[in-house]
């Protein structure tokens, strides 16, 4: 092959700027960057111009947002400064940047006659600072809130960090004693409850009365008419265990007894007896249950742990969902490999540059892969849920789509980077195409393929832990559910499982990849 000689190295000639320094500075004062551009530093001029345009646009937006009710530039600025003092800092920095830009335009014009171009250090620093503080303002960054509110979050956080109390439960038994009540009272009133032969019971005196009622007067205020005062006696309960008082209304729905808004509980003495005065509570009852004599029931409930500990429902659920998660990631990786293998050959430039047609396929495949890859798996999961509904299948679909694109790109790059030498050598022995691929291409691409595949498997399992948050199955779904229910201990169990699994996986995948590089 012929070597093409490069032209002899020529020293770059710096032509003088088009405008004198003062004019350059004035031009940059009017349109930032113009002076620099005319001093033959076009790129710097363009960058400066667009930076200023962006900053001014952002500042107008943030100032109006900070002072939404004001009109007039001065009023808006005043109000914004007052309400959001960081705006003052941004404005000062902006003015500094503006001055630096003018100074830079001047110096650039002066220096354009020399060989060494001037480094835009001051402008650069000012630019970074302005963007930093605008970002601070837009991001509503509030270190104060982080520090002061941290204390309040500690109970919740500590439950997440150490959730294991929730990992085990004891089987529970409900211990319940009841008494029937009637309203309105009849004449003669119903008899008091009689002692039960077995188990706990309540005796309520009187056994009939009126619930609390509520009425609205003309002024719109609600007036409460308290119900009958009831003297409740409990017998046969477990000593020293909390008794909850519940009502069953005539419609059959159950609710707890409250007094002044607080839930009422009592603790029986060593004989299992207690005594308490309550007011018959207020309850909205459907009209059909209000006719004639309706029957209420007062219940005293104890819940006690009996027998040995066992794993809690949440722990078992978390384990089940974690297994599901791992398999979602695994299946997605399998499908990804199967589909990415053929695709990667179509996306390898060295194999596809034979003619215009194959090159066209190459660009098409590459383009599609890049688009698919740029959309996050979470978004694919949302789309997959629309098609196949909630559950692991949607998650597998979403991760598969993303894996095909990611693996296709990685594989094709591995194919592109193979050494042509062995191919040439095997070809020279008289081998045919299949033999060349098997003996010269495959041995070269196996290590990177294995390495990329393991990496992808790792990524897929990590992704599958969050894909459940949008309905793609796996542990993410549980996590979101528990967090929304403020069940921080259960959520903590899920977080622990995710963390441990990902850590183990990280280690294993790194180990395997090490062997193949």
């Amino acid at each position: 092959m012929k070597i093409r000689r490069k032209p002899a190295y020529q020293e770059k000639v710096f032509k003088p700027g088009l405008v004198p320094p003062v004019v350059s500075a004035i031009l940059s004062a009017i349109i930032p960057g113009l002076g620099q551009a005319l001093s033959r530093m076009v790129r710097r001029g363009v960058v400066l111009f667009f930076s200023f345009a962006t900053i001014v646009g952002l500042m107008i937006w943030r100032f109006q947002l900070a002072a939404p009710r004001d009109t007039g530039v001065v009023d808006i600025v005043k109000k914004a400064f007052h309400l959001d003092p960081i705006m003052i800092l941004i404005s000062v920095l902006f003015i500094l940047l503006y001055l630096a830009n003018i100074y830079d335009a001047y110096k650039v014009a002066v220096n354009s006659r020399k060989t060494e171009p001037r480094k835009p250090f001051l402008v650069f620093v000012a630019l970074i600072l302005v963007f930093f503080f605008i970002g601070w303002q837009i991001g509503k960054i509030d270190v104060y809130a982080l520090v002061t509110q941290f204390d309040d979050a500690i109970p919740a956080l500590s439950r997440v960090l150490w959730p294991w109390e929730r990992a085990i439960t004891y089987p529970e038994e409900e211990w319940e004693g009841t008494a029937l009540m009637e309203t309105p009272c009849t004449d003669p009133p119903p008899a008091l409850n009689t002692p039960a032969e077995e188990g706990p019971y309540l005796i309520v005196d009187p056994a009939c009365g009126e619930p609390t009622t509520q009425e609205e007067n003309e002024a719109g205020e609600s007036i409460v008419y308290p119900g009958t005062e009831l003297h409740v006696l409990g017998y046969g309960f477990l000593p020293d265990e909390v008794v909850e008082l519940w009502w069953r209304d005539p419609a059959g729905s159950k609710f707890r007894q409250r007094q002044d808004g607080d839930i009422i509980t009592v603790i029986p003495d060593e004989n299992g007896e207690f005594e308490i005065d309550i007011v018959w509570p207020y309850r909205i009852i459907p009209p059909s249950y209000r006719e004639g004599i309706s029957e209420w029931e007062l219940q005293g409930r104890q819940i006690t742990a009996i027998g040995e500990w066992e794993f809690s429902e949440e722990l078992i659920l978390a384990i089940e969902k974690m297994i599901e998660t791992i398999f979602i990631g695994m299946m997605a990786t399998f499908f990804g490999i199967i589909m990415a293998l053929p695709v990667s050959f179509l996306a390898a430039r060295n194999l596809m540059s034979a003619n215009v047609f194959t090159l066209g396929i190459y660009y098409l495949v590459r383009g599609v892969l890049n688009i698919i890859r740029s959309i996050e798996p979470l978004i694919w999961a949302v789309l997959a849920v629309i098609i196949v509904g909630l559950g692991p299948w949607a998650g597998i679909l979403a991760l598969t789509i993303h894996s095909v694109a990611a693996l296709g790109k990685l594989y094709s790059e591995a194919i592109e980077s193979i050494d042509n030498g062995p191919i040439e050598a095997v070809q020279a022995t008289g081998a045919n195409w299949f033999q060349i691929v098997m003996y010269a291409v495959v041995p070269q691409v196996i290590p990177p393929f294995v390495s990329f595949t393991i990496y992808r498997w790792d990524v897929n399992i990590r992704m599958s832990t969050v894909i459940g948050m949008v309905g793609g199955g796996g542990i993410g779904y549980l996590l979101v559910q528990w967090i929304r229910n403020l069940d921080y201990r259960a959520a903590g169990i899920a977080v622990w499982f995710i963390a441990v699994t990902v850590a183990i996986l990280d280690y294993v995948s790194a180990e395997i990849r090490e062997r193949f590089t």
Binding site: M1, G421, P422, P443, I446
Partner: protein, 267 residues
Amino acid sequence: MLEIQHLTKIYEDGTLAVDDVSFTVPDGEFMVVIGLSGSGKSTLLRCINRLIDPTDGEIIWNGVDLAKLEGEDLRKARRKIGMVFQHFNLVERSNVLTNILTGRLGYNKTWPTLIHRFPKEDRDKAWEVLRRMDIEDQALKAARELSGGQQQRVGISRALMQDPELMLADEPVASLDPVLAHSILQHLEMLNKEDGLTIMCSLHYLDLVQRYSTSVIGLRDGKLVYQGTKKDIANMSDEEFKQIYGEDAERIGGSLEGNLDEKGGLA
């Protein structure tokens, strides 16, 4: 006998790499091709076994024009032409035995070879070649674990497995130090003398050319500028050498003969 007639290669970008070259290589010759980097040596050698398709000209070998062969016929012709490369071109992750067995691919059916099945005679032959090249004990190592000199001997072994009648060697010693260079060239010389294998080899160093060649051609900018016998090259003056290599050339390398053991191996 290999007859090259008016061979020309113009690359797609318009580079004229080989320009109307004609010469003859009688059987049993150790012909050395000399010339600067970029003078067209590699292109010329690759045209002969058609790793590169020539633009024009004929390559007549045993009465067949290799330049016109296609498909199956071309592969059959390639089987009889071994090739050794500057960078060895071994599959580095595969072991030495597998690398060598690739030399038999052209003689075997496709499907068995795809699952790495070779007939027993091929395997026996591989061990025999390994013994001859003195790398028997490296057979099961990955090719990349071997030293440069050993790798090139694997390269030669692979070519030998083809039962070649012609051996092309493209700068076989350019990646090796001078001592190993002699060792490798002595192996090639042995094949040339013992088996009567015709060898076409491109070399850089004049002393190696003088020591091993039986005839020489010189290329410059793709043109044939020199043709001589062993005697001619032995008497070659610096002026003539400079004509081929251009003004920048110097006589590189010193005499290392005699420092080698009998087998020529130092590895």
